[in-house]
Symmetry: C2
Subunit: 657 residues, 2 copies
């Protein structure tokens, strides 16, 4: 059951798409104290959820802040990442779900200040709170997902392997990547284009010098089953003669200062205006611009910098430089030095800058700060809604960096600018259940790590984990070690792992479709399915769909790991898609060995999964090569044509035996 409580005058976020009548009376479970909602936690209570945040599956023991933030430092002490996913389930002495539908800054103190208290504090007391009770955690999630709308459906090819890097500067760079994968017989479905492809970082432009025949390149690669996926940033460059800039100014589609002038921030293109994605007209206008690329054969996009990231604002920079000149004139003391360096470091992502601009919401000027967490969601919505008109017959790949619950209807998200750290394999895995709870099914991390230098063994172990996530993309930052798989001496091992992915795609896609159709989670904590004390402790294994448990190795130099089986399962150890063996293990704790070239996962008791012969691109997947792997059992396969915009009526179900 879902009960809705209204406090003050909430802003309509559109997270909830079903009419729910307001419950009058006192909010259950929580005490209201000094502008906060306070909940007693029993020692054994687990708090699941919060989506894209650091730390473990159990969010207890830290203070988190829902504030979409361009933060490339996903450290243990990080309080905000790119998304704001305000749905949690408290599980233990009593079990219930709660969604704080609040688009501004929301602070979650989950046993941080005091171990036995969870304190949730909105910046203003204008919000809706939904309490969800149900039979168990899965039922609570299903009810919640039922009222936030069906998750985004990507094309099948978005389940293939993607290669990305900030640094592919021209057609030759792109062709080199495609060619090397082809020569090394490593499957590939997409190549991502970071900001390098644009002309002066102007959205919807292509640099003509470095990409003289963009359309031709896109067609040539599509012929090989490889899709080009360009990035689109939120900020629109201030540049005379640039259509997006000029139209936006003319029509009043950009966010405004208090004085009504267009707000100026600076990001990759230098000075920019920010489209007012909360204004439906501006949203429709910006969305149409994607046609400039779809008309050249593009059928996938990733939306970035849409927290929105702000490197600096004109006025703060001016103030800072003025103060800097005061501080640095004469004999600079150490306090002045730290004030100076601190001010300079504080330009980027400065929270105060988000107070400075306004959205036009039905003619009302709304301060950005109060609706900050809706910006990225509405950028992806802009693209999605426009493209369903521009290309009404097929799916376009979309994923975004910033998000709020509701954005899951318009696209996926990737897990942001992580690093080539072993601990970030586990961080990605720990976020999956919370993201699935919030409706984000199409997601995954930058494999191999975005920032910092990767290593061969990290790349391999990361692949072994990531080959289960819907988004399966290798991405890295300009200036770091190159990490296209063909560059490594162990590329043969890596190629085998990619082939295992392709053998698994029918299964992964089927489980994705089931999770979407049935408002379920594709990735779940073990304790959502098995209820015993040992299971509740497991924080580095996940259930995948109805049949699989994953338990990847995420420690350097480890040749195995501990795994807890909540019941008998079959361990599948794979060196290649057709080089594997299966062994049954009993319920309990086990240490499973696996050298670097081996990955393993588990099939649940009495279950089987389909495996197909891998191909070089998803377009060639041949379902007729399907074999069942696992116990003597049947499997219900969900499939559709993988490309129609809406799969209603196209969804097929087969019982495989």
């Amino acid at each position: 059951m879902i009960s809705k409580y209204v406090f003050g005058e909430p802003f309509e976020t559109e997270a909830i798409v079903v009419d729910i009548e307001e419950t009058k009376g006192t909010l259950p479970y929580f005490k209201q104290e000094a502008g906060a909602f306070v909940l007693d936690l029993a020692e054994e209570d687990i708090v699941y959820g919060l989506g894209e945040q650091v730390r473990g599956i159990n969010k207890r023991g830290w203070q988190y802040v829902s504030w979409c933030y361009d933060n490339p430092h996903h450290h243990e002490d990080t309080r905000s990442l790119y998304g704001a996913h305000n749905f949690v389930i408290v599980s233990g002495s009593t079990t219930f779900g709660v969604f704080f539908d609040y688009p501004g800054k929301l602070t979650w103190d989950i046993g941080y200040t005091k171990r036995s208290l969870m304190t949730v504090t909105p910046e203003k007391m204008d919000l809706k709170v939904y309490i969800i009770t149900g039979e168990n955690e899965k039922d609570i999630v299903k009810q919640f997902r039922g009222v936030i709308g069906k998750s985004y459906l990507p094309p099948l090819w978005a389940f293939g392997y993607g290669q990305s890097r900030w640094g592919y500067k021209n057609e030759a760079d792109i062709r080199e990547v495609a060619q090397n994968y082809e020569e090394n017989k490593i499957p590939l479905d997409s190549i991502y284009m970071d900001i390098d492809y644009m002309e002066d970082y102007k959205d919807f432009t292509v640099n003509q010098e470095r990409f003289p025949d963009f359309k031709g390149l896109a067609q040539e690669l599509q012929g090989k089953g490889v899709h080009l996926v360009p990035i689109i940033d939120a900020g629109v460059k201030i540049a005379d003669g640039y259509d997006v800039y000029e139209e936006g100014v003319k029509e009043g589609y950009f966010c405004k200062n208090a004085d009504g002038k267009d707000f100026v921030g600076a990001v990759w293109p230098g000075k920019v205006h920010f489209p007012d994605f909360l204004n439906p007209e501006a949203r429709a206008w910006f969305g149409k611009k994607y046609e400039q690329l779809t008309s050249q054969g593009i059928d996938g996009f990733w939306n970035d910098m849409n927290e929105p990231a702000i490197f600096y604002t004109e006025d703060r920079l001016a103030e800072t430089l003025e103060k800097v000149s005061t501080l640095t004139s004469g004999n600079m003391g150490i306090n002045e030095y730290f004030a100076f360096t601190g001010m300079v470091a504080g330009l980027n992502g400065n929270e105060g800058d988000y107070d400075k601009f306004y959205h036009n919401v039905d003619g009302r000027m709304v301060n950005h700060r109060d609706v900050h967490n809706l910006y990225g969601m509405n950028m992806t919505r802009s693209a999605n809604e426009a493209l369903s008109r521009i290309v009404p017959d097929k799916r376009t790949l979309f994923f975004s960096r910033a998000s709020y619950i509701g954005a899951h209807r318009y696209g996926g998200i990737w897990q942001g600018d992580n690093k080539s750290w072993w601990s970030h394999i586990l961080m990605s895995m720990s976020q999956l259940p919370g993201l699935n709870m919030a409706g984000f099914l199409y997601t995954g991390p930058d494999m191999g790590g975005f920032g910092c230098d990767t290593t061969e063994d990290l790349m391999i172990r990361w692949l072994q984990y990531s080959l289960f996530t819907p988004l399966f993309r290798n991405h890295s930052c300009d200036g770091t070690r190159m990490q296209e798989l063909y560059r490594f001496s162990t590329k043969a091992i890596m190629g085998e792992m990619i082939k295992i992915r392709y053998a698994l795609i029918p299964y992964l896609y089927s489980e994705f479709l089931k999770a979407r159709e049935n408002d379920e989670m594709m990735f779940r904590p073990l304790a959502f399915d098995y209820d015993d004390d040992d299971t509740r402790q497991v924080d580095d294994q996940l259930l995948l769909g109805g049949e699989v448990m994953i338990a990847p190795i995420y420690k350097q130099n480890a040749k195995g790991r501990y795994v807890y089986l909540p019941e008998e399962m079959m361990c599948v150890r794979m060196r290649g898609w057709n080089d594997f063996e299966c062994a049954t293990f009993e319920k309990g704790h086990h240490y499973i060995n696996a050298d670097l070239h081996e990955m393993f996962f588990f099939i649940r008791k009495g279950c089987a999964i389909p495996l197909v012969k891998p191909v070089m691109s998803t377009k060639d997947i041949d379902y007729s090569t399907t074999q069942l792997l696992g116990y003597e059992a049947s499997y219900v396969l969900y499939k559709d044509d993988g490309i129609s915009l809406n799969n209603d009526g196209k969804l097929e179900m087969y019982v495989l035996e």
Copy 2:
């Protein structure tokens, strides 16, 4: 056997204190290629050592750089921390030790660029390389430790609990800490004083306004068994009328620019000169200054900022500000913005600044860059050598941040400015074997974490690990959450953990003395004592002395952990010093439960350890309360009076039965 190979014209580091004849001929194991030493690694080889570096006990899979560096970010991608400990053991297909005695920058590529190669590259080919072969890893360490000199011997009270924080500003703050520990009946042996106590951050001064009766305070606390331990920084403030500055200038004891003028850097005091610790006269002069504090009752010091840290140099700041004014004048583009912020961020610890100054070594001007890693070592040597003359009859506590092998003779080291991260418990533990290999026995981390905000559960689990490390200090950074134990709602649990420490001190001190006397490691990887494949995989458990294995819990919300026992052992689970139970576990893998208020460790088969009744300060330890814990066995207890400068002739050994 130890063989010495000489390349070029090495600088004499004084790491090795025994005359070893040079071996002519080719260096074994390594190929020499393009200014580097290259070793083939077999897939199963493990590389132990490198002391204070990030990542696991097995150093394979990363590139490390020996370059003493004030780096508060101990991230996975960190290449340099505060120490340079160039001794490793390659264990596997062949097993040997190697020490690269080189005081400049040395790069270790241990299977990073290519998994099967270790490449060691000195900046200049002027060094000594020592190859150590032996029966096994322990024998190799013992031989190496035999030629680098006995490890520093701290006073017994240095094994007690210490409370520290950057931010104790006056006598009242210090008294408040002492009083709260007393009132809460939590044992305490020392309170550390960070830079706040000084007058304008001038070494050897005490702010008279905030500490009007420093001597009285020191005496009052000593009466309660609490020692005050002030910090001493490397940089000497440029300030007229300040004796250390004026004498140093007059005598020419500071590091010089190429033009012969005193080099100017900036650290906490603002502009400073750096004492030339490589000049024996300067060393003796600076060392004598400690008397200004010992004469007021101080008997312990920590030496900091001695990499040396340089926040900025005058000329680089001037250059930067000039470039900044160019960049920021007019319409600043995004490239100029990043150049600007990058330059400002690059002022601190800029490697180029270390080329700018010189040491006077026997009248010869030696560029700092070539001997950089010896600076911190010789600062602690300065203090140690002077104090053995000033206070010839008793030990002074010393530990340092920067170090090189050889520094272990003069003091301990703490593991630097870590963070309140769960992963930093494991990082500390992973460093212990490498530090012990290099002679650093007196060491430990900032418990609870220095940077960032701690949590109650992190503090408790960290205590449960740290109560085994010789240095046992809770330290935190100004501006972070206060973490004195009495501030937490779970202070009763924390107090019990401290009492367990005090019950264990006779054992820990005894094993420390044995390791020191016998040139052994107090903390060892399991594979140094047990030789099987499973044991070689263990990276989060350590052997302690002859009798104990530690396996702390270092994950948030975990109520247990996996442990591998290489043979039968006895698990001791403690909630308090006299609230515990013992259970025997067989060889193999186990999951051991332990709620937050419980810690556990293991006693090796056939062994027993002494436990005494805890007291409020080490001065009251009563050996007559000793009981044996563990198997039916005897224990050889090492003890001395805990305070005489040299324990020769004072060392006593008892067989406890």
